[in-house]
Symmetry: C2
Subunit: 455 residues, 2 copies
């Protein structure tokens, strides 16, 4: 975990320091240190990095910014980190709702994917998803989908921070012939992005039931040698765990542990249906969790015991899952759902309070992706990944507590400004690197294609 | 339940019919008949009443409206019906979050209410709540709070439809000395509104643990004689049911049934912790349910078995509860939460599909309040209580299915226009009967008072 540093340039009262950007906000919630809400402070950015957080009067005295922003009714927080997405699936949003899970997959999603998934679909879907994510305050996402080169390119071009977790599946699919082929292709893509400051690669063995031991062992070895992150759908439903025990004699967590995959590099996605042994294993190995509450609810997957996991010291982050099972990528809404649901599941209204929910959506996400030295909190020395949320809406009044209002009344619609690595990607709700009209038009083309109105 | 009627004036091709308002919408979802989505149709209003729903070309041929609206990207649905609210508590939104239920009530909410609740508080809080409700598509609400005359007046003046369920509590409070005093005051208020077209009164015995048998019997008699609705917090938590069984030897539903209160006039609010006998009683007596999922989650009250209740043919409606335990009054968000949660609780993703969720938020609410002859669906002869929701946002593309997008991607922010009894109360997100700046300023005054910054 990164700790706060002092700015590297000493304060000289006689000479103002030129910087790129100075943001004055009504409130700043840095996440680290925990549970702080700074009022009427400013955040200074130079060369993409946070160089100071300080009282407004002092900031205006000390810096000469090229660019200055006054966010009078807004709270500035770390950019949100969505640790599980299938961005391209935004094109299948609302395409087949209200079906039982296996009908949904086998009769609707898989056939549609089989017919349509190709680089063009992935590029268009990912750009649509990135636009939605930026408009709702997300600055970093982890993505797991076919043709990850198209996802990576879209993230790179839009200026987002992304972990491209390339899918490894033992059986043939549109992108790869088998697990080894996927690993080879994924590692080649990693070479292409080796020195990229915002886009990194990770392994995404799809799920215990689609990837065999040999492939998983290979991933464990590569991940260890290359210092790469791994993410995997795990314990998504009680049925999955039951079938695994029947088929292999092991619970999926036990099997992954035996194969050397449970470690601080591992992000376990979903994690409903957990027993005490599972929780102890996670605790012992330092593996992380991506909690996707809205997808778990909508697909009736089960309830993750988030309060218990957090109490055990396990790092729980938040993911939206793909828009086909959510049906959106709004991290504030997802975090709100996580906070509400955790209380009911734990049977205690004090479980997962607002400040902890915000930490899950930011610093815990950065830890889960192994990039907490770069992002996840507003600290000097970290990248200027920022989200500014308006708290002036009528439905947020009276404003007794900005942190409460942020978690319990705000959603993506209240996000007004977003920066990634110091570059403003959302400016008063306008995207700066993506053309919204074009995205809308492309989404219409895909709607018509999928409905069979076009070929 | 009202059935569709034909317009009373016959179509004469040579003479156009003058009407007040004609609304052309991209989609109209009438709720009754079920599961219909009309494309490019129009809804005609005269004298506050729906007089026709017909294809756009025919509508333009047939009517001369005073007022005409083109809702090109919007879906027109029945105004949403919030069957459980404590509107004035909006002033306590976010005032004491993340506390265990009894700490929240005993250390925070009750002391604040004891200090502040008076007609001025109720008037200001209710106006703030009405503004929020209108901006998020609600046209009818049922409210349970002290000084119901202030609530009724605010609803009347703002043009909303409301059921004012006056609180009956056996112990002294700011508004009434005891249960009989509350009944007397409430019935006097009913006299004041006897002929009001939009505001009606109902009994709200607070909860089984705050109202004794004598008072409940009295309410049962009056309600029967006067044809008045009753609503009551019931089975909010497993603890409440347990304590009732310990104290009285009866489950709360059994006790209410013995006292003659379970009937089609009864609206049971919350209803988690239900066993099969409870469900059979509800089924047999025709009592209704107000399901408040976000409040139940946030206060860790429990999970209502909504799928099971609907399958038993019980009428389940949706309420937000007060903003102090939600923290908002957004019925689209509440309905979305209800739909997602019901699937997970039932363990079946096909439970509570989009069309049924919309019915819960509209016609089921009207039935629960006993006003389904007036509102709850878009049918000729019913009041023109309408909500128009924009489906053109980027996070709603591609639009494979408007009903799915409405339930799974929209929230209050997407509501653009609202009519109650034919009068437009929200016009492209601007309130027509309430002054938003004044509401914001009053909320600020109450924030300062409650924080002790003002007296």
């Amino acid at each position: 975990m990164a700790t706060a540093k002092t700015p590297d340039q000493p304060f000289n009262a006689n000479k103002k320091q030129p910087i790129d950007t100075l943001i004055h906000a009504r409130w700043i919630i840095p996440v680290i240190p925990e549970q702080r809400v700074y009022e009427n402070c400013s955040l200074a950015i130079d060369d993409g990095t946070i160089v100071a957080i300080l009282p407004r009067s002092e900031a205006q005295h000390r810096f000469t910014p090229t660019d200055e922003h006054h966010l009078d009714d807004q709270v500035l927080i770390p950019g949100l980190i969505n640790t599980h997405n299938h961005a391209a699936m935004s094109l299948l949003r609302g395409f087949a709702d209200d079906h039982p899970l296996m009908t949904w997959l086998e009769k609707h999603i898989w056939p549609a994917e089989q017919k349509w998934v190709a680089p063009e679909f992935v590029g268009d879907g990912t750009r649509l998803a990135i636009a939605e994510m930026l408009k709702s305050g997300t600055t970093t996402f982890s993505d797991q989908y076919f043709f990850p080169e198209a996802t990576a390119g879209a993230a790179r071009d839009a200026g987002m921070r992304a972990q491209i977790a390339f899918p490894v599946i033992d059986f043939p699919n549109a992108w790869s012939r088998n697990g080894f082929d996927a690993i080879e292709k994924g590692l080649a893509l990693r070479d292409d992005y080796r020195s990229h400051p915002r886009v990194g690669l990770a392994f995404a063995p799809h799920a215990p039931y689609t990837v065999g031991d040999e492939t998983l062992k290979k991933i464990a070895i590569y991940a260890g040698e290359l210092g790469m992150a791994v993410q995997m759908h795990l314990h998504e439903t009680a049925g999955e765990v039951e079938r695994a025990v029947n088929d292999t004699g092991e619970r999926p967590t036990q099997r992954l542990h035996r194969l050397g995959l449970l470690s601080p590099e591992m992000l376990c996605v979903h994690m409903t249906a957990l027993n005490d042994d599972d929780i102890t294993l996670l605790q012992k190995t330092g593996a992380h969790i991506a909690h996707c509450p809205r997808s778990n609810l909508k697909l009736a997957s089960g309830f993750s015991p988030v309060g218990k996991l957090l109490a055990a010291g396990i790092n729980v982050s938040i993911g939206t899952d793909g828009a086909a099972s959510n049906n959106g990528l709004d991290m504030l809404l997802e975090t709100n759902t996580a906070a509400l649901l955790a209380k009911a599941v734990a049977g205690d209204a004090a479980t997962l309070p607002a400040h902890q929910a915000l930490a899950m959506a930011t610093i815990n996400g950065a830890r889960a992706l192994g990039i907490d030295d770069v992002t996840g909190s507003l600290e000097v020395g970290k990248a200027a990944d920022l989200c500014a949320v308006d708290l002036s809406a009528l439905e947020q009044q009276p404003l007794h507590d900005p942190l409460s209002q942020l978690i319990y009344t705000a959603n993506g619609h209240n996000v007004r400004n977003v920066w990634v690595a110091g570059k403003q990607l959302l400016k008063e709700r306008e995207l700066t690197t993506l053309n919204e009209e074009e995205l809308r038009q492309r989404a219409g083309v895909w709607r018509d294609r999928i409905a069979g109105r076009l070929n």
